[in-house]
Structure formats: structure tokens, C-alpha cells
Amino acid sequence: MATERLTDIGPPNYEQFLPPVIKDNYGKWAYHEIVKPGVMVHVGESGDKLFTVRAASPRLLGIERIRDFAALADKYCDGHLRFTSRNNVEFLLTDDSKIDPLIKDLEAIGHPVGGIGNSISNIVHTQGWVHCHSAATDASGVVKAVMDDLCGYFTGMEIPGKLRIALACCLNMCGAVHCSDIAILGIHRRPPQILHDNLNKICEIPNVVASCPTAAIRPATVDGSTSVELDEELCMFCGNCFTVCPSMPMADPLNDGVSIWVGGKVSNARTEPKFSKLAIPFLPNNPPRWPEVVDAVRNIVEVWVKHARKYERMGEFIDRIGWPRFFKMTGIEFEKEHIDDFKYAGLSYKRSAQLRQ
């Protein structure tokens, strides 16, 4: 099928993929209700009803599984489905009698239904060892282990509000973990190696020097060839040098690991969006199931579930009880690493006498 080469056509127009009930009620939805875990109904001003069944997804999907989803969509939804911004899959039905059979089929192929309303939804995550050169930990494996443990909160246990978890396998934070209720962040803790033999062939030394925010990198001549040298004292492991220069690898099995962050949010509901804050500076990479990470996340989740008020996101909960009590309740030790020492450090100090004594 040799035809002229097409470019710049852009994505297919979404309209062709919308089910009729959506076309009819587009922009004219009246309200929605949560029918049961993982199932909600949107009711149009017309009275029409759209049922959504949300199923878990590992995000990393093989074509077979996608074909399974397509088959289920044909069987129950006249072929209509979508994915969510947190990578779950949503089946769009108009006939509520088909909901339970669909759920049965989904569970049969290992995709629990849930994640709607006040629940723990899917973990936004990244590539990790599956595809990225920059990873300090794996992404999919940690997510699988953590969600196995928290699955009950996805399929329906009552919790105070939404809890969003994200994972990024390095400081580039492709998972945008910087604003999550709980964030799992892969970290390097050893300054980059310097492959002097090929550095000047592969990398532009001025770019490498410029890439370092703390000016830890200086040009240098190492046995004859031009290269760079590093003041390890100044390195805070951001990995920016490696991003611009492959000859400065950061990955290191002995020192790479995971840090845990809490209290971020994105929505404007009640309180303004918040950045995540450091909760646990370091946990080891312990594949295949990262038990230390799983336990740490569960511990924080349980403290929140037990003590937070209705609607209260993690960060709102902590703001109410105060950080000292958060550390007490979770049993997490407060350490030097928790204290900011970057650009805005001073603003994170407690600049008032308002203290619980």
C-alpha cells in the first residue's frame, strides 16, 4: 500500500471515538453519582445516563491485553472505552445491567475495578529499568508491589478523601511526584563517575560544566586528555550532568535507592496546590518487592486513614496537626536531611513562636 508520505496530520479527532450518549449529552451533564466502588453514573440534563466502570491497569500493556480490552468494549460498550489521566481504563456503558458481567470479566483477566471517589487510585509512574538510562530504581516493580499492598483501598475501603500516589525513578520527576499526597522518588546518592577516556569525545565540556547547579564541575586535564573534575562536597546528586553527558554516569547499586515524600496536591479544592515534602530521605532498593518501601507507604497511609478528617488530603491533614506530630504519629525519625538547604531554605524555617508545646 505505497501512498504519499503523510506528516503533520496530528492526532485523530476525538469526536469519532465518542459514544452516542456522550455526543448527545456533550457539555450537558447535570450531575454524577458513585454507584459502587469503581462505578459511577453521569446523568444528563436530558435524563440520559452514562455508566463508567473504571479498572486498574499496570500502564505497561502488551498488545494482547489491549485487544482484550477492545473485546470487552465490543461486548459491553458498543466498542467505546477510554483511559484516564492516571492510566486506568474506563468502560463506558449505557445499559446498567451489563455492569456486573463486565466487572466479572475484568476481574477474571486480573483487572480489579475501583479507584473512583475517595479511594487510592493508580500510581502515576515512569519508565525505570524498563526503558530509561537515568533510573535510580525501577518504576513498574515498585508500583506493582505497593499497589498489591494497597489494592483494598482501590477496590473500595472507606477513606477520608482522595489519596494520590506518584513515582518517579529519578530527580527528573517524569511522574511529576512533586505534588502528590505520597510520592516515591528514586535517588542517586553517589556523585557521578567521570569516564575520562571518552568524555571529551562524547560531551561538550563547557555544557557539562554549565549543567551543574552547584558548580561542582570544573574543566581539568586528566593524564593528558582534557576532561572535568568534580568537587564531591558540592554534589547533591541531581543528575543534570549525566543528562547532558553520558560519560558521567550516576547509577550505582550500592547507593541508589528511594525517598518518600508527602503532602502534595494539585487540585484547588479547599486549599491551594501544594508541593510534596520530604518524609523519608532514603530506603534501599530491594527488588523484586521493595518491602521497606511498601511498609513505609502503608504506614503513612494508615496514619492518614485513621486520623484525617473527611475530605482532608494528606497535606491538609498534616497542616492541621503540624509536622512535629506527623513525625511522632508515623514514627519517622526527623533528621538533618529533612531541613531544606537549597535556594528557599530560609522560608521553610519556623518563623514564629506558634508552637504546640
Binding site: H131, P213, P246, D252
Partner: protein
């Protein structure tokens, strides 16, 4: 021992256990048909044993005439895993709102079965369909089939990244503008900027229909377009009363959680002082049948969010407090172009627009893009006395 088959993948096998769907199962199932996937399994098992990744930087690979859309990737264990010596990713621009038909999905699967590993991410963090892993030779053929099927690549590198949006009016009663239409329209309008990196760094656009921000635009997009309204919240007092009898403690759950305390409840009537409502959505979220956003709808445009590399993470901040969002969206497109012009000319290499804005100073930035400063853009005026007064009088 490249193939997982040889001596198995004991560590990865552990990740097939448990209630959550397993990516390992996905790779294994795909490995039955794809050597690439089989090799990936082996390579990954190795990473699990050694606690380190086995990928190297990708050089410049891509499809003809495009600078973006492909992430090059090479294994550092090429001899042991020749099938994935190259393992490039294609980013395919998803349809707005991630809506599909079963046929559309099958089309993609068929193409990817012919030309790649058969593995995908549905979807990537920016929103693209990620076709995970193929060789350099397969890039053009894959692209050819995709475009024939009506799909095109998404962004990567220093270009406009694939814009994304929440489900919006398609399935949400709170959408204050048509997120899907705007996203699709901008994506089509800026095809050149999407495919041919010419910016100082990446530029992301995300559209959320209301302040709940279901695409995390304020945290993850250089330009965040967030729906809002400027008239009164629509109140159905009867439904409020109903909610009050259905487990909602209106004083505690609603009034006390209102950021500006502008809702009052006397036991049978809900009074909202809309002048002081900051459109946070909470009361509406809590009582979807009783309350709805106002009717005079539009969006707030915010600028500058990004991850921490390397000056620290940023949230987007208000650039346009309220704007009507209607086709053909000329005002928004002009604004975007003015921003790109200024940033493109004066931005440093790898400087995101949010960092640029701070470096040159928001005031100067506004002058350059011809936007009037208004107090809505700031949380508070300056606390320091270091004003750069621009001119001074001199004696005659």
C-alpha cells in the same frame, strides 16, 4: 542466556503474584510473539539482580522531517541481548481525552505487532501513546502505517509537547470550557512546533475543565488552562436540603472547608457570597446534585510549572485571571505565540518558560508579551524594597 526462557526470571516472577495487574505478565505474554519482549524480560531480570538499569543515552534517531516523537535507546549489554540493542520508543499523539474505539485500539496493536516489541504504555506521563521499543529501521515503516491509520507522533525534545486535557464536557458536568476541542485545536494549529524542536526547551500545555484540575496542569504544564466561572454558583436549595439529610453535615463538611468562609447555612437555606468565592470547587464537589459552577464560564491561564531540574520545581502562576474560551481561540493562540517569541529569543538553552519568567522578572516578562500587570497575578506584593526604578530625573 539472553532469553528469559533459558534460566527463567525468578525475581520478576515474584511480581506476577498479588491482586494488582502485573506488568511482568504483560511482558511475558508479549514475549510469546516478540523476541524483543523476550529479551527485555531477560535484561530486566538482570537489572533486578544487579540493582541497576542497562540502558544508555539514545542518539538522535527519528522519522524523516521530524525532530521529535522518538526517544532513542540502546542497551549496554548488546552482545547478550542483541534483539534489544536498539530499543527506541515512539510517542504517538493520543486523541483528546484518551477516548478510543475498539477498532482504533486494534489498529494500533496490529501496526505495533508488525513493527515493534508489542509493548506499550497506555499512556505516558505527558499523555502520549507510548510504543515501547523498536529498532531504528522500523521507525519509518511504523510511522508510515500510523499516519495512514490517522495517527501522528507526539512531542519530545525542545518542542511543544503533546497537549493533553481532562475528560471535560464529554463526561463531566463541571467543565467550564471544551477541553477536548481546545486541546485538539491547539495541537493541530501548532503541528510544526510539535514536531520540529525549535524552542529553548520543552513547552507543555494541559487543559483542565475546572479548578479540580484532573490533568494536574498546574503542576505539570508550562501553560495550564484551567476552567472557571465569574458569576454565581448555581444552587438547588431542595437538593441542598436533601444532601443535608443524606450524611452531609453542611456546616462542618461544607462551610468550614470553604477557603474564604463565604458560604453560610442557617439550617434550611444555603447562602453563598459569590463575590468572595474563589472557585475552589469544594462545595460543588461535595454536593454534585445541589451545586453547579456558574453560567458565565471561561478559564484562568497560568504559566510556568515544571519538575525540579535544576532550579527547583515550579507551579504555574496566574497570567490571565479570566478569559472566554471560544473557537477559533485566536486570543489564546496569539498569547502563546507572543510568549514563544519572547522566550524563544531571550531564553537560555534548557531554560523552561517558568524559569525564564523568574530570571527576567515577571514585570519585565509581562511588558515583553504585552500583558498588563494585575494583582490577581500575585499572592502578595513584594516584601523587599529592592525596586529597579527605571528612570530618574537629572538636574537641568
Amino acid at each position: 542466556m539472553a532469553e528469559s526462557g533459558k534460566n527463567g526470571t525468578p525475581m520478576l516472577d515474584e511480581l506476577e503474584k498479588g491482586p494488582w495487574p502485573s506488568f511482568v505478565t504483560e511482558i511475558k505474554k508479549t514475549a510469546e510473539k516478540s523476541k524483543m519482549s523476550a529479551s527485555l524480560l531477560g535484561l530486566l531480570e538482570r537489572s533486578y539482580e544487579e540493582k541497576i538499569g542497562h540502558w544508555k543515552h539514545g542518539g538522535i534517531v527519528g522519522v524523516m522531517g521530524y525532530g521529535g516523537g522518538v526517544i532513542g535507546r540502546y542497551s549496554d549489554l548488546q552482545e547478550e541481548f542483541p534483539d534489544i540493542a536498539h530499543f527506541h520508543t515512539l510517542r504517538v499523539n493520543m486523541p483528546s481525552g484518551w477516548f478510543y474505539t475498539s477498532d482504533a485500539l486494534r489498529t494500533i496493536c496490529d501496526i505495533w505487532e508488525r513493527h515493534g516489541s508489542g509493548l506499550t504504555n497506555m499512556h505516558g506521563s505527558t499523555g502520549d501513546i507510548i510504543l515501547l521499543g523498536t529498532t531504528t529501521d522500523e521507525l519509518e515503516p511504523t510511522f508510515a502505517e500510523l499516519t495512514q491509520a490517522g495517527f501522528d507522533l507526539g512531542g519530545s525534545g525542545s518542542d511543544m509537547r503533546t497537549p493533553s486535557c481532562c475528560v471535560g464536557p464529554a463526561r463531566c458536568e463541571w467543565a467550564c470550557f471544551d477541553t477536548l476541542h481546545l486541546t485538539n485545536d491547539l495541537t493541530q494549529h501548532f503541528q510544526d512546533e510539535l514536531h520540529r524542536p525549535a524552542f529553548p526547551y520543552k513547552f507543555k500545555i494541559k487543559c483542565a475543565g475546572c479548578p479540580n484540575d484532573c490533568v494536574a496542569s498546574i503542576a505539570r504544564a508550562d501553560m495550564s488552562i484551567i476552567g472557571t466561572w465569574r458569576d454565581e454558583i448555581q444552587v438547588d436549595q431542595a437538593e441542598v436540603a436533601a444532601a443535608a439529610t443524606n450524611g452531609i453535615d453542611i456546616q462542618k463538611d461544607i462551610c468550614n472547608n470553604c477557603p474564604t468562609k463565604c458560604i453560610e447555612w442557617d439550617g434550611d437555606k444555603l447562602e453563598i457570597d459569590d463575590e468572595n468565592c474563589v472557585k475552589c470547587m469544594h462545595c460543588i464537589n461535595a454536593m454534585p446534585k445541589a451545586l453547579r459552577p456558574g453560567k458565565d464560564r471561561g478559564a484562568t491561564i497560568l504559566l510556568g510549572a515544571k519538575a525540579p531540574i535544576v532550579e527547583g520545581a515550579l507551579l504555574s502562576s496566574v497570567l490571565v485571571p479570566f478569559i472566554k474560551v471560544e473557537p477559533p481561540y485566536d486570543e489564546i493562540k496569539d498569547l502563546i505565540e507572543r510568549i514563544w517569541d519572547v522566550w524563544g529569543e531571550h531564553g537560555k538553552n534548557r531554560e523552561r518558560v517558568g524559569e525564564f519568567m523568574q530570571r527576567v522578572g515577571l514585570g519585565n516578562f509581562l511588558e515583553a508579551i504585552e500583558v498588563e500587570p494585575v494583582p490577581e497575578m500575585i499572592a502578595h506584593p513584594r516584601e523587599n524594597p529592592y525596586v529597579f526604578y527605571e528612570e530618574y530625573f537629572e538636574e537641568e
